[in-house]
């Protein structure tokens, strides 16, 4: 049963029950702070530990040991006094640390002394021709179905893109008896040389051995095409084939399902709507919040932990969650903080967890042609705006993403720019010969997820609220 928050005010409100949020809420509650954890999904775990408390996949080795780490985090949280609400969509957060949350079709407001945003990551847009066709999904989508419902691809399946998640997903699909016909690897050849200076840290990181074993496991069973430089999905109202170029040779393969993946990027909507300063990250090619060493943002009282603070992976997310929670304890209950793991030890854990990340970021930096589309490739899936539409708008005076809204409605559909924002910024930056930082991003505002007018109208209001807007 999903219930509204029990109180109107909390010491700490954590948004998101992935690795960072689980760790942050447990740390905060164990230190005696009144803690509320709000999460949009059916159960805790976020994306990486999705359905950790309910997965029908009982053969533990199929999902891998890294997945089951999530069960301990959930256990720790559930034994704490934190209040946890699932299927709770936070749609507003402001500078006064007031949070609006929709639960079961009704909205409630809670006030926090500290907020820890752990809204995680989403998949980087992969705007290729035909990516809106039924039958084209993200790799993460397939992994979500695999973890939460033990569903695996069984038609002709192609996986295309690059990065660690792609190989993990492929291994998991094969272990559960699913079908993969071909993997199209889009990693740019030049990236191998660029990543070389960072190889030592990677070789000594936990990623290396695990990654290598997984790639070997997959390559033994699936045809892998490397050096893919062009990619398109085609079909009439439904995916029928995948067209690609590898080593200068054009190929077509019939397909029922195409799974795309080229890394993940911070899910910035709530943080940006709260007014938190973000900067363009030239290595990770995304917006990342400006944070201090404890995860504190430019808005007093709001910290960000996990991949929403910049992509670092699940291990780093857990530590960042603990760091942000410890900082909250230091601020609100300094006497208790002394009993927690010292900050220096947590920072050392974080450095260890982030080891090898620069190598991965450099090696798996997506190629420009897969980030910056052209012609009639759709950029904004909601409003169905193409790359050409956007370039035409630039030609007649659109200067940045916010002006572009007036020209083409990009980013104004229900996803609120989540699937087009990065593409629009990079496309406009290239067209106007500016940096993404100069071009900027959509101005995001509450509600960061759509809610109905009826729900807004039903929000409890005081006499003063009504007087402020009613004439006479």
């Amino acid at each position: 049963m999903t219930m509204a928050p029990k109180r109107e005010a909390y010491d700490v409100v954590v948004v998101g029950a992935g690795p960072a949020g689980l760790a942050a809420a447990a740390t905060s509650a164990e230190a005696g702070l009144l803690t509320l954890l709000l999460d949009e999904n059916i159960g805790p775990g976020g994306q990486v530990y999705r359905a950790i408390a309910s997965t029908p996949v009982t053969e533990r080795n199929q999902l891998g040991a890294d997945y089951w780490v999530g069960a301990d985090l959930v256990q720790a949280l559930r034994t704490s006094d934190a209040e946890i609400i699932q299927r709770a969509t936070v749609w507003s957060l402001d500078r006064n640390l007031e949070i609006a949350v929709s639960v079961g079709g009704a909205s409630a407001f809670v006030k926090a002394r500290r907020v820890i945003l752990a809204t995680g990551a989403l998949e980087r847009p992969f705007p290729i021709p035909g990516w809106t066709l039924p039958g084209v999904m993200t790799a993460g989508a397939a992994q979500t179905m695999l973890k939460s419902s033990a569903l695996v691809p069984d038609g002709r399946t192609v996986i295309a893109g690059q990065g660690p998640l792609l190989w993990l997903l492929a291994a998991q699909i094969l272990r559960l008896g699913g079908r993969i016909d071909r993997i199209l690897d889009t990693t740019e050849r030049g990236n191998y040389f660029a990543a070389l200076p960072h190889v030592f840290a990677f070789l000594t990181s936990p990623y290396f051995a695990k990654g290598l074993a997984m790639m070997r496991e997959v390559r033994a069973k699936v045809q892998v095409v490397s050096g893919v430089t062009e990619l398109a999905a085609s079909g009439d109202g439904q995916l029928a084939s995948v067209n690609y170029v590898a080593g200068g040779k054009r190929e077509t393969t019939p397909a029922d399902l195409l799974l795309l993946h080229q890394g993940v990027v911070p899910n910035v909507n709530l943080a940006m709507a709260a007014g938190i300063e973000h900067r363009w990250d030239d290595l990770q090619l995304c917006w990342s919040p400006v944070l201090d060493a404890s995860g504190n943002s430019s808005v007093a009282g709001i910290a960000i932990a996990g991949d929403g603070a910049g992509i670092g992976g699940a291990g780093a997310a857990v530590v960042r969650g603990r760091i942000a929670a410890r900082a909250a304890v230091e601020a609100l209950a300094p006497a208790v903080a002394a009993k927690l793991t010292p900050m220096a030890a947590l920072r050392a854990d974080l450095a260890k967890a982030e080891r090898g990340r620069i190598f991965l970021d450099t090696l798996f930096r997506p190629a420009p042609q897969f980030r910056i589309p052209s012609g009639d490739t759709i950029v904004c899936r909601c409003e169905e705006v193409t790359a050409k539409d956007i370039l035409d708008a630039v030609a007649i005076g659109a200067t940045g993403p916010n002006q572009l809204k007036a020209y083409r409605r990009t980013g104004m559909g229900p996803c609120q720019g989540r699937l087009c924002g990065l593409t629009v910024t990079e496309l406009m930056a290239q067209a106007r010969a500016k940096s993404p930082q100069e071009i900027g991003y959509y101005r995001l505002r509450a509600p960061v997820k759509p809610i109905t007018l009826a729900e807004l109208a039903a929000v409890p209001k005081t006499e003063a609220d009504v007087k402020a807007v009613v004439r006479g």
Partner: protein, 98 residues
């Protein structure tokens, strides 16, 4: 497009898709149940009427929009199935009163 793994021992849940009964499993999201049903569950977009299926399955893309128990524009990937739930594949914009 997708099949269920044999190890899935969750109890069945009956839902109705455009009036036809289909069997989902407890814990499925509406979107997962639709994709597992092998039916044509493509919605059409509000802008051009183009056919779509869920893309992200994690609440960000809104390509899973569907009418659930008479309420339109629900994100099917965030709603768990329940016994007797009535689902309509949404064609175009949400209608007034739905």
């Amino acid at each position: 497009m997708f099949k269920r793994s044999e190890q899935d021992k969750r109890p069945p849940v009956q839902i109705f898709v455009d009036g036809t009964a289909i069997t989902a499993r407890q814990g499925d999201t509406v979107s997962a149940a639709l994709l597992a049903s092998s039916r044509d569950v493509r919605r059409s977009t509000a802008v051009s009427g183009a056919p779509r299926l869920p893309y992200c399955m994690m609440g960000v893309c809104f390509d899973c929009l569907v009418t659930i128990d008479g309420v339109g524009n629900r994100q099917g990937c965030l709603v768990p199935v329940a016994e007797g739930m009535r689902i309509e594949i949404q064609k175009g914009k949400r209608e007034i009163g739905k």
